[in-house]
Symmetry: C2
Subunit: 282 residues, 2 copies
Amino acid sequence: MPAMPPVGFGIPNTYRFFVPPDAIVGKTADLVNLVDEELAHRMLHVLRLRPGRRVVLLDNQGNASLVQLTRIERKGHIQGHVEQTAAAGGELATTLVLYVALLQADRFEWVLQKGTELGVRAFGPVESERSLPSARADRNKQLRWQRIVCQAAEQSCRGRIPAILEPLSFAAACARAAAARLRLLLWEGATLEGAGEMGEAGKQPTPSLRSVLRAAAASSHAGRGDTWDLAVLSGPEGGLSPEELTTAAKYAIIPVSLGPRLLRAETAPIAAAAAIFYELEE
Amino acid sequence: MPAMPPVGFGIPNTYRFFVPPDAIVGKTADLVNLVDEELAHRMLHVLRLRPGRRVVLLDNQGNASLVQLTRIERKGHIQGHVEQTAAAGGELATTLVLYVALLQADRFEWVLQKGTELGVRAFGPVESERSLPSARADRNKQLRWQRIVCQAAEQSCRGRIPAILEPLSFAAACARAAAARLRLLLWEGATLEGAGEMGEAGKQPTPSLRSVLRAAAASSHAGRGDTWDLAVLSGPEGGLSPEELTTAAKYAIIPVSLGPRLLRAETAPIAAAAAIFYELEE
């Protein structure tokens, strides 16, 4: 799947909203009909949209519809006419899943927002050994995360909302990441704490993200035209434990360094995502 | 100047603080003696440091000293013994100056913090035509910016505090950026609004950051071993005006695209910085 720019129906800066796919009855009646109190509130009171206004509604299945709103009620009833439907675009060719250790709430949310803008396909929240107790996931946080990635996807004109997986243990995250074509663990080269536990492999200097990506690109038979599928793991504020490094090694997840710099726990996965898309996307 | 990892004197996770160079009288008496009420407050009440504790003090001129604190007074008097002094390290070989249009306060501060972590050498706040009126710089903001880059530099083990230039008009930023070896303007390729004003150059699709960086690397006589010197300009939430694009073109500043994505005004310069260091640093 090549990357496609987001469809805008020739109308710049139109507001975009994800809605349930069954809310758009394009094929039979060209109607939109949904009840969503929160969305109606955003339309009416935050963005001050009124009937007559055109917006783009996305079904999160790859379709976008240009819709003229006919009714927005405080109680949540939203109706409109579908004027045009097209492929939504706005998705990169590269599949990148970020498995991010749970961080302080605002830092974790920031990773979700910025990762969504950059084009991350899915996020796996990881309950790492050294994650702060206050960082644990709960139902309210998960709902909030969903809203954050949805709105970030709308604003950055993504065609789909990135998935947020159920919170995973570090070992479960490694097991899941192991299915990806290229599996990376962000690891500051300078402090190879716990290298002893990793055996001989741990004693070598951590290779750079660049050298690993370019080696993978060179060894790929399909070459650049092929679709990339990556999993990237990153640790919490307090770093990964020696046991976690051992676990990652067991799943053949490659530690990579982002250079001679100390990035915060929330900055590393975003810098890695920016670099990966820079390298792999046209 | 090759990139050097930050010196840690073999003591991991030591607190690091920038202090005025004349506070460290290493050559004559191996003494530290300074008065800084804010720093004393951070040491005593935020980090709960007590006399006897070792910290790293940096003079922002490339030197780091391992210091055992002997006195920390509420009123700001701080004293200690210098045990060791070495090159601070922690600076990348690439010189990257970000000229960032003034944004909403929290977004602009975020660019300063993340850019400092990534290794940006200096920031130029730019009063762009479409910058929000509330985004204007004032003395209080500038002091706050200084604290943000100082603390981000301390936490990410930088050897020097990135400079923050005085706020510049867009034209002045272009004139200043023109002195850099490679001058780039972040510009979303999909919306070439105002291309007509740029003449023929504006009518071509915006080249990708990657293609421009690699072309520059290939054409450089000195090759990778040479020191890179880049200026990157980025616009405000509302984008750049056609006049600003014309101005940038006059100064031979190259518009580059970060791919088929719509990044927020604060995300674009950080994604660009991450990509540039990925490409140019070992």
